[in-house]
Amino acid sequence: MRLLNASGCLDALAAPEVARTLDVFVTKTVTPLPREGNAPVRIAEVDVGMLNAIGLANPGAEAFVADHLPRLAELGVPLWVSVGGFAVDDYVAVAEQVSRDEVEALELNLSCPNVDEVPENVGEVVAAVRKVTGKPLYAKLSAAVADLAATAQAAESAGADGLSLVNTVRGLALDERTLRPILARGAGGLSGPALRPVALAAVYTCSRETRLPIVGMGGVATGRHALELLAAGARDVAVGTALFADPGAAGRIREELEAESAALGFVNVDNAVGAAHGGTEATLDPGSRVLPEKALHMEANKAG
């Protein structure tokens, strides 16, 4: 299990000490041309999460490679680049430019809710990018599609190496007094606690319907939340909104996760992967679990 940040939820150059708490840093989405992003107001908290409509603000692929990438490489944290665009050619162009030695993998942002242009068919984008890069390709999908399993399978057939699940879903918040949308763009992407069951369902489904490793994300704020995503079938976990309140969330979640999984009798965190699918699923090695009593006994021995 690796702990990542959700793309767009951390600026590693502004907060390098936070990036260094992660096993992998995922960049904000890079598009072919620079984008200033949406006008403010860009964020709003709601009772069950927060909305954002940042609008893929980024320096563009050329400046990213020339200016940001060398500095990100100095962090000493494995680096994934989130690749975005508005047409197949955009993804291909960015993927070609950022497939550098410093970059471990690419995450294709196929699901940003905050831009007007809709990316084309997921399978088409993945297949086209697959042709121009040897980097591992993670397809980041939204759960807000009619048939997520089919979308995930399309990504798999097209050559994706993994899935990042899930991106935000669209939500709206109205001002208390004026009843007008708070965000300048109207709607925005909903993240935080409300997204957690959505993410769990998406991970659960896609881990059954594809063989791809999954980075689970959506509302993870505690070790228990991370454990549940692993149990649903995620191999790795990303933290997003929780980083805003707690810059030390990654370290804390890692500690809590180890304690939670041990308390439930897993000899290590990775043994919890797929637990939600029961003993008949190929993802769970039946021999990997020990009884809670035995785990406690082992803990006692270790402490002694």
């Binding site: 936070v18 964020i43 999460g49 909104t241 707690d246 810059p247």
Partner: protein, 220 residues
């Protein structure tokens, strides 16, 4: 250091319509006047940015206007309640000024008491909507108070180095009068350290994250 500290609420005192929330300082540094802290409000998803109002020994105090669910939850905190806090963050006021004049409007007076302490209690001009709101002026020494429909710009004296915080129309008016002023701005923020990209404002024709560039910006 970017770390969420767990502190305790010492007191929550009413000041006109506002609440002065006193928090146990612990190892936290008060920072420069105009810098801010992210305060976690009970049951809310993201913390709220608050500039430091006062820094008495062992305390950090924040003046809060209960205008939304987060600020209302902060104002409802009781002595002994735990509170998550990150800071100080951002860039505060430059203190190398010769003839300081503090200018504040409404809840925008929040950073001025601490600023006044650090600058040796210079003169201040404070504007409020009502006499009730103006009770907060007691926190700022040597303050001249105006109530709407009189505006602070009508009471500002010439020849001063202006350090101002208040609503946007007030800051724009101050900027027009004194292009060399230092202005503390406000924007919705989820993180306070550049991660959420939410708090952008127009700085010289570009959208910049206020938490990193500000919240105190040169007027021109």
């Amino acid at each position: 250091m970017l770390r969420r500290e767990r502190r305790s609420v010492l007191a929550a005192e009413a000041v006109g319509p506002y609440t002065l929330l006193r928090v146990d300082r612990g190892e936290l540094e008060p920072g420069t006047p105009g810098q801010f802290f992210m305060l976690e409000a009970p049951a809310r998803v993201v913390p709220r940015p608050m500039s430091l109002c006062l820094a008495p020994p062992g305390e950090l105090a924040f003046l809060i206007d209960p205008i939304g669910p987060g600020t209302r939850a902060l104002c409802a905190l009781q002595p002994g309640d735990p509170i998550g806090i990150v800071g100080p963050l951002g860039n505060g006021f430059r203190l190398d000024v010769e003839r300081p004049l503090l200018v504040g409007g409404g809840i925008g007076i929040a950073p001025l008491p601490y600023l006044s302490d650090c600058l040796g209690r210079p003169p201040a001009v404070l504007g409020f909507r009502t006499v009730w709101h103006a009770e907060a002026a007691a926190l700022v020494p040597n303050a001249e108070v105006v109530i709407e429909p009189t505006y602070v710009t009508e009471a500002m004296h010439a020849g001063h180095d202006v350090l101002a915080c208040g609503p946007e129309p007030m800051l724009e008016a101050v900027r027009r009068l004194t292009p060399r002023a230092q202005l503390a701005w406000e924007a919705p923020m989820a993180c306070g350290y550049g991660a959420c990209y939410g708090c952008v404002v127009d700085v010289d024709g570009r959208l910049e994250r206020l938490c990193l560039k500000g919240p105190v910006l040169a007027a021109a």
